[in-house]
């Protein structure tokens, strides 16, 4: 990357920090990556209002600057179908927060319907620098390991070829009553990730896991961005 190193002198580039889910999404959305509309709330009343606005069912997730593995810790509640359930889940999640989670609130998000999940992201290779990745997602992602990688920057042609690389092509056609994947929606995500990796100095990795294929379009429902310690983002880059 050709940008001037924005890190303050003395910062250790080997050390990294993660952004909260909501800040991660705000950062990546600037590069055209589609996310479901969602609300960051700080109490049960806010959660009720958000659920009313979005329409149930919704998902509730604890959001913080230092929570990397939400599902494993039970910090994700799915399919909440009434405002009482949403309020109760919000209280429980806030109570479950540990001091070092850096909790900033609870994200209330619509439940997206889709049988198919992809994973996409940015990783920094020790030898080759930033890369963009696309794979079949879901709980079996690492075991199935149907994954393809390119070096940043990528063109739209490269992104289309990444989709072609996946072995599980049958998953990308019409599937269990759902329409075929609109490949352009994935191309947009991949090119957006490449653009983010080029434009944001200190961006070490990003996970969009999962990208749910909903009505044929890939929509990211979770995001985790990892930055080099001491990376300073312009205010426009992060909302919080």
């Amino acid at each position: 990357m050709s940008q001037v190193d924005p890190r303050p002198p003395g910062a250790d580039p080997a050390r990294t920090r993660t952004l909260s889910e909501s800040d991660s999404k705000d950062l990546l959305a600037r590069f055209g990556i589609p996310f479901a509309p969602e609300h960051l709330v700080t109490d049960a009343a806010g959660a009720r209002a958000a659920a009313d606005a979005l329409g149930v069912p919704v998902a509730a997730k604890l959001c913080g600057t230092n929570i990397a593995h939400k599902s494993e810790r039970g910090l994700v509640r799915l399919g909440l179908s009434g405002s009482d359930a949403v309020a109760a889940a919000t209280d429980e999640l806030l109570a479950a927060a540990r001091p070092d989670d850096g909790a900033t609130g609870v994200l209330i998000a619509p439940m997206l319907r889709g049988h198919r999940e992809l994973i996409a992201g940015i990783a920094t290779d020790e030898q080759f620098g930033p890369t963009v990745l696309l794979g079949i997602g879901g709980v079996l992602a690492e075991a199935v390991a149907d994954v393809t990688v390119r070096l940043v920057p990528i063109s739209r042609i490269d992104a289309e070829e990444m989709i072609d690389d996946l072995r599980s092509q049958a998953l990308l056609g019409e599937f269990r009553g759902e329409p075929a994947l609109e490949r352009d929606s994935v191309v947009d995500v991949l090119v957006g990730l490449s653009d983010a990796a080029t434009a944001v100095p200190g961006l070490v990795s990003a996970d969009l896991n999962p990208l749910i294929v909903s009505d044929g379009r890939a929509v990211a429902v979770d995001a985790l961005v990892e930055l080099t310690e001491g990376t300073h983002l312009e205010p426009a880059e992060v909302r919080s």
Binding site: I119, L133, V147, T148, D158
Partner: protein, 498 residues
């Protein structure tokens, strides 16, 4: 490429590959020593330039007079020095060499970067010295350099390959030998070959850049192991593969996964997948095995690129065709062509009625009707066909060989039938080449007779046309897949054919 060294100039490579004269430093009278073998290989392979050798005692080696010291070398008489002397002697040697007008040094000497801290210091000193003296340093710890336009075989191992259009650069000397052995086996020749050894100052990437500029080289073939300068290698591969077919075999391809990372992406983006992605976006042909790598390079060097992926299989025997059709169907990027009606009707007039009337085209004894060249022409000439794989070549000649050797030859009418079969197989092999040239479409022949009985007139004629007779249909399918991927890569990016 080391940070200390500047990028080599084309003129430096000319001194390495097309020197007007060569010096072997450290020539030995002992036929087991590198300094003997290298001089032998230079003298034995027809190099036309002047050959000098140094020997401490001034003893003749192989009847060739030697110099006691490099000081005795006439100025400007040699461009290349092949160094077999111990590392400790080489600094002074290279200074003298530079003063005598030598521009390139290949170092076979060990005792450098591979030999602990002291060796690493010596290697850094070597790189700096090369830059100071303006000498291209290749190696150290390498096996040598081959350049067929100059009939130069300055290496401490065999073989010297036939002349051709493939440039080889390798981080392992043994892989140079492997590729050159495959060149000898197939007859598809080599332009330049170099073993980079420790690649102290000149890397595989530097050679790939030279090959792209080199008039003698059409295809680059490289073995890469560790990558120490990722962005440099990525840039070189991207630049070079845009200009000529570039085939890479990479060692250390497995494992490398699961590095510690906060993200799932980080653990899924293994070294191997990252290198694979680089190859795909650069249009580099990545091969999984030595023979796949050589055959891909040899196919790029000898067949036209297909404009599409529709393949027809032509076979004289059913089973082979079925299995090959399966291999094409299972291939990620190739397609078994649907036989067009008009083509089917025209083939009806040339083959016995029991022919398959489908793809694979089972010729059903068409060879006895002598129509194989015409069928090949019809099939390859059809606009809905992009490539042909032709199986069954040489079967009749294999029987002819048995008839010839069986103790009854030439009586009982054997002599006549043997000559007929051998003539026909040679004709069919020649037709596969001629039709490919006429139509501009790849036609690949495959039979295990190419390795079982390489003198069989079928595969022998394929070799004489300059092409590969693939030892199996699967290997032909794999090679054709590589051609198509490159063709598609260039077309999608609006790059003209190389």
């Amino acid at each position: 490429m080391s940070a200390a060294a500047k990028a080599p100039e084309p003129e430096d490579f000319r001194a390495l590959f097309d020197p007007a004269g060569v010096v072997v430093a450290g020539a030995s009278t002992h036929p087991g020593k590198f300094g003997f073998v290298c001089l032998h290989n230079i003298l034995a392979s027809g190099y036309a330039g002047r050959v000098f050798a140094t020997n401490r005692d001034g003893s003749p080696v192989l009847g060739h007079p030697t110099l006691r010291s490099l000081d005795e070398l006439p100025e400007g008489a040699a461009d290349l020095i092949f160094v077999c002397t111990p590392a400790s002697a080489n600094v002074e040697l290279l200074r003298t060499a530079a003063a005598k007008g030598i521009r390139a040094a290949f170092l076979a000497s060990a005792g450098y970067g591979e030999a602990g801290e002291e060796g690493q210091r010596a290697q850094a000193e070597l790189v700096a010295l090369g830059a100071e003296l303006g000498i291209l340093i290749v190696g150290p710890n390498g096996q040598g350099v081959v350049s067929t336009p100059s009939k130069l075989c300055a290496q401490i191992v065999a073989p010297y390959p036939p002349a051709g259009r493939i440039g080889v650069a390798s981080q392992s000397g043994n892989f140079v030998s492997s590729f050159l052995n495959w060149s000898c086996a197939t007859g598809v020749g080599i332009s330049r070959a170099v073993s980079c050894g420790n690649a102290a100052a000149t890397s595989v990437a530097d050679f790939l850049r030279f090959f792209a500029d080199d008039d003698a080289t059409d295809v680059a073939l490289a073995y890469i192991e560790g990558v120490s300068d990722g962005p440099g290698v990525a840039a070189a591969l991207t630049e070079v593969a845009a200009r000529q077919p570039t085939v890479v075999l990479k060692g250390g391809a497995t494992a490398g996964g699961a590095r510690a990372a906060a993200s799932h992406t980080g653990s899924l983006a293994t070294d191997d997948r990252t290198f694979d992605g680089l190859c795909r976006q650069a249009g580099v042909t990545r091969a999984a095995t030595v023979e796949e790598a050589f055959e891909a390079a040899a196919t790029f060097a000898t067949q036209p690129l297909p404009a599409g992926n529709r393949v027809v299989v032509l076979t004289t025997a059913g089973g082979w065709g079925v299995v090959t059709a399966d291999a094409i169907t299972a291939h990620r990027d190739l397609e078994l062509a649907t036989l067009p009606d008009d083509l089917r009707k025209r083939i009806d007039t040339l083959l016995p009625p029991r022919w398959s009337r489908n793809n694979p085209i089972d010729l059903a004894g068409g060879e006895t009707r002598d129509t194989i060249p015409q069928v090949l022409e019809l099939v390859a000439g059809h606009p809905d066909v992009d490539a042909v794989i032709y199986l069954g070549l040489g079967i009749q000649s294999n029987q002819a060989r048995m008839l010839r050797d069986g103790g009854f030859h030439p009586d009982h009418g054997i002599e006549r039938i043997v000559a007929y079969h051998e003539r026909q197989d040679a004709r069919f092999a020649q037709a596969a080449h001629d039709v490919s040239v006429a139509t501009g479409k790849p036609i690949l022949t495959a039979t295990e007779l190419a390795v079982a009985f390489p003198d069989n007139p079928g595969p022998a004629t394929v070799r004489a046309t300059g092409r590969v007779c693939y030892p199996s249909a699967d290997r032909a399918v794999t090679a054709l897949g590589h051609l198509w991927r490159r063709s598609r890569h260039l077309a999608r990016r609006g790059v003209g054919t190389p």
